[in-house]
Symmetry: C2
Subunit: 289 residues, 2 copies
């Protein structure tokens, strides 16, 4: 079959997300009937039913679920194509690096000067975005590089270079039953409320949704939740919380990530600077491929 137009993919994604033709049409700024027809056309040409509709409800078929995920990827790729071309075409080249607050564990302050020494260096703009937004920004071409946090962030579609791994600590309110322990294991935390982060779906975790570290610290201080965080988060710790090492928590890592198959010398140089700083000056030859 002939490939669907990006418009059709966007229509389908809207309907699949809303599971409601009326609302989807509204979101797309159009009327409902043409939207219904567009989806019908799409299904007919693909030869697959994507949606199950009764006059009361719309649901995804298995093929529809696959197509939703794939369509999102495809739309990201289209958006990325435009953004990357625009960025490489316009004005002076610059690198856009995106991170979440505290997402660099203090490395960036040493990376930037190291990077500027590289002959391939260009101007760097650092954007601090909301938690979970970085990978989307990298995926759709708004950013050139991102500091991600393994194992939470989804690194698929990116090349990554690990910068440092750190153990995790439990952050507890002062006076918590475990606050005086020298160390603990994950099972000690059974039954505690753990926070949920936007963009991260952990099965079971149903504690309060937190948006940033200070919000989280506030909730911890109020004994609403406890959290298990990378060690460097200690620097955000307020006076009224305590940190206790968690011996069996998976170690967390900070990665620098960039789009796969990137050929940019500026990106390669930045990655080089990252690994040099992170690994104590040992040159890593094949960084940046």
């Amino acid at each position: 079959m002939d490939a669907p137009e990006t418009r059709e993919l966007a229509y389908f994604v809207a309907v699949a997300e809303e599971l409601h033709f009326g609302r989807a049409a509204e979101r797309l700024g159009m009327a409902q009937p043409p939207l219904s027809r567009a989806i019908q056309r799409l299904e007919r040409r693909m030869g697959v039913a994507l949606l199950e509709r009764t006059s009361r409800a719309v649901s995804l078929t298995p093929a529809g679920a696959v197509f939703l995920a794939e369509s999102r990827k495809a739309l990201d790729a289209v958006a990325a194509a435009v953004r990357r071309a625009q960025r490489s075409g316009r004005e002076s080249p610059r690198l856009l690096v995106v991170m979440k607050p505290e997402g660099d564990a203090g490395l960036l302050g040493r990376i930037l000067p190291a990077y500027r020494l590289d002959p391939d260096a260009v101007e760097v703009e650092v954007v601090v975005c909301g938690i979970g937004e970085q990978s989307a920004m990298l995926r759709d071409g708004r950013a050139d590089l991102a500091f991600l946090h393994g194992p939470w962030d989804d690194v698929s579609g990116f090349d990554v270079e690990p910068l440092l791994t750190e153990d995790q600590v439990a952050v507890l309110p002062r006076g918590h039953r475990l606050a005086d322990r020298a160390a603990l294991v994950l099972s000690d935390l059974d039954g505690e409320q753990l926070p949920r982060w936007p963009g991260v779906d952990v099965a079971g975790a149903s504690g309060p949704l937190v948006r940033d570290a200070s919000q989280l610290m506030q909730l911890i201080a109020l004994s609403q939740v406890v959290a298990v965080l990378p060690e460097t988060m200690r620097r955000n710790a307020r006076a009224d919380v305590v940190c206790v090492p968690v011996l069996d928590a998976p170690s967390s890592s900070i990665l620098v990530a960039w789009p796969e198959r990137t050929r940019s010398r500026a990106v390669a140089a930045f990655v080089r600077a990252c690994t040099e700083v992170a690994h104590g000056g040992r040159a890593v030859e094949n960084a940046g491929r």
Copy 2:
């Protein structure tokens, strides 16, 4: 800006590849003027010049080169979205595994029975394609899994699991000046003709283009080329060629690859079967994510 339609991306790719509006239009089955206008519109909306045209020649701007690469990725993603949805929607589920001739080093014969024991197993179809075609088939959704050959195949965009690594041997015609050596190093081969493979651009290598192993063996026997190949290729060796270990050649590896973020249980089970067979029965818990 509003996203370009896939049709526009296809137009641009055609022009960028042909570097000639007339030929590109012909390839697309349309007249030249609407194609010129479509590209102009695209450039105007993107706000970037993609092509440099004089009335005699067309060339890519740097932004155009970036956009060409990104557009190909995006078109692949769109095609993959359709194919994967179709496959998961139609008929009985089946897994399509793609490999090049001899690309499994004999593993597949043991993997398939192991896979069938898995409760998540579905029917498997194995397609043997031309060299260098596998990653394209995996990328655009025609295949579910592929056996790739590191470090030659481009694995970006895929999740991979290495199955086995092997040392490389030089394949020489009987009577070659190095044929009697017990082992050699790469620099011993300086000045020899090395074959080129379709889809693999190695800087410098400018020997004859070979399409498959038997063709290559033929050329070796005729003293047209020598080749450095993974050890398992010995089994293709004809009587009139000899194999000599190359001590410092990078070791080659066979990987099983599948599209990132795949959630299919059937794919996960297949990968599980692969790792079990390859690693001698040691279960690998997180295979298939």
